[in-house]
Symmetry: C4
Subunit: 233 residues, 4 copies
């Protein structure tokens, strides 16, 4: 096993182990990867291995075209989706996929999650996008590979930047999140699950609840992300 | 106590102990059994014994006609339902019954759980079937025995295979799941509870949410169960 | 401190400590008592003391008219309700009051909890009764004392036996449960919370879900409570 | 680091550490402060520091105009809101801000939480007030400072006393609570979250559930807060 991938194996391992602690996965229904931009590879959870049996060295090294480079185990079945996103989105170094309860329920409704409050606006200034289910031809083809393109197409059509919006729902499937590090991508998955639960409750309590007004969206985003950002609770 | 049932007692014990860890039972409201096909017997949780006081040797050995073969305690009151299923479904070696919250709520509605997403499709390609409550005559008769037939009749009428669909809701009662091992049957109970919660949320968020389209159902099932299966997250 | 109340102090202490473990209380929003029928007294949680600071000797001994008999602390503010029930219902030896989430929500709706399934029928064959809020004159009077009578009046008007139905919702307030022992009363509180959550979900999933049919109600009750009872999972 | 602020640093630290234990925060989405009325300063959580890395000495000392007096770290981004409330409300010594799930969902609906039961009435005799989102001009200005005034204006317009009502929802944002101590303010945050969840469930179960009647509101408040108070469970 090559030592040159030590750091991303450690990062991917640590980030994967956060998923059960944060209540985001049942059994093995999730995976995290961490990328090395210089080597153009990423370390990802092996397929079907329970979290309690993971270790850094079990992480599989895969290149941005989805080829296995190093490791004894089969990589996660979602590996090609990760590869496509790393290949095309140059500024991300971590990706997370889960089937967390509330985010997945929203994905199953094929609806974007409306921006109802500042918890949401502290992280993104638009509704959480939901990519529509892909065409039957794409499904029959290289499905996990096409899932990556389905996500990118959704961002193009909605005019979104993957650097501003670090999360997506894949319609009828489940969420993907990403970030500058694997840790940040995990953080985004937990934020998404919380935002998804609150939006669900908001609509139940008040079916005509208005979206957050523009001035508040702008303020909350800028205090965290703007040139004079100062946010942190 | 006979040593020849050592293995199924261990399997049944380990599987029963998973139920409280997975949040699927309150008090003793659940039971798991593990079968030995050669001996045509199964080991099942004793009746009314709290999980923290279970041990492998307390598991009761029962044959496929529901007769107690070995053990000092009374078997679970659902024992005859397990016996009927083992007797008629030759390829299962584990059965679980729980009153887990969301699956039981669906059972109480007498509705099948619609297939809304890939979490569901990764495990079965049809709605989770809900067997109707049985006729009054069957209820007055050998109730737990008839529950087994009620489940089998439901599968016959819907044209389902117990090997493809390893779970059922018994109307107004609660879920049963099964599998090639007791561990797999417990896994199915946890998956069912998660799918039941997500389907509930999906309908709350979008009452007109469409069922998963056929191409996605087929893809997700085949990547896990088909001849070229490769699934595992 | 008198030694003659040792046993009920121990019982009340052990039962009170079950409430936080079962997720039935926030802070001190609950209390359990255990009665000694010969001495015609009961031991009850002291008022406002957090569970982690309880001990058997802190339990307060009170007679069936609500007079403090032994103990250094003030008894729970609900003590008079307990006293009234012990005085008039001769066959109970434990009472529990909580503000558990789902049961309290039902109490706030002033609705009985419909019997939707066998989880409910395994414990009682009727809807969980909800006593209406009391008249303003009773509220202005000896409130906690009158709460006991409000519960008893509800049972009289509905023709219920406190031995068959060991739980009640007090409208706009919260649940009370009881039983032959303090442990059984705590068990009933946990069952009620589970039944309340499932009934809530059942109506959300299917607003026209039918009540459990009579044959099933009868069967499930009899297998647990009838002369030939055999229930236990 | 000055020793004269030792006590409020300890109080603020202990109170902050209660938030994750009570399930009221995800990551760092919350903060508690504790005031020293003689020195006219308060100790508050530093910005963006995870709870597991907090210590008393990391608490930042700020005066009632929002100026940092002592400490090496940047104070919570909500510090000015705390400062405004301490400056104008003379009898509070602790403030808590969280994004707890149910209270935040209610804030997102811009609705007051109706008083449906005695759990609510034991703590306040009116609906939990929801301050409307502020005007765009205020948002563009000194936002966190204006949030404090938004809360005070809401209380003035509704004719509420901050000593009787120790909690508020800030519309589209999240709850703030306060009290005579930081511990009491944390207690109020947990009570609010529980009341918010129960009110949500009450309306789901019975959309026409009536508010608690006046006699019960009065009784429950007086037994806890009146001149002859005796409440405690």
């Amino acid at each position: 096993m090559s030592k040159k991938y030590h750091d991303i194996r450690e990062s991917a391992y640590e980030a994967n182990m956060q998923l059960p602690k944060l209540g985001l996965v049942l059994f093995t229904f999730g995976n995290v990867s961490a990328a090395d931009r210089e080597e153009r590879v990423f370390a990802i959870k092996p397929s079907g291995v329970p979290y309690e049996k993971l270790s850094p060295k079990k992480m599989v090294i895969v290149d941005f075209d989805g080829n296995i480079i190093d490791g004894d185990l089969r990589p996660s079945s979602d590996t090609k989706t990760h590869a496509v996103l790393y290949k095309h989105w140059e500024n991300i170094n971590g990706i997370v996929h889960t089937h967390s309860t509330y985010a997945t329920a929203w994905a199953q409704t094929q609806r974007d999650i409306p921006i109802f409050g500042t918890t949401h606006a502290d992280h993104l200034t638009v509704d959480v996008p939901c990519a529509p289910p892909m065409d039957d031809e794409m499904i029959k083809g290289d499905y996990e590979y096409e899932t990556g393109f389905q996500i990118m197409n959704c961002f193009k059509e909605k005019g979104l930047s993957y650097e501003d919006v670090e999360m997506v729902l894949v319609g009828n499937h489940a969420p993907f999140t990403w970030g500058k590090t694997a840790d940040k991508a995990v953080y985004n998955s937990a934020v998404l699950e919380s935002v998804a639960q609150m939006a669900y409750l908001t609509e139940q309590i008040n079916p005509s609840a208005p979206r957050l007004k523009d001035a508040l969206i702008k303020k909350h985003f800028e205090r965290k992300h703007g040139p004079n950002s100062y946010y942190g609770q």
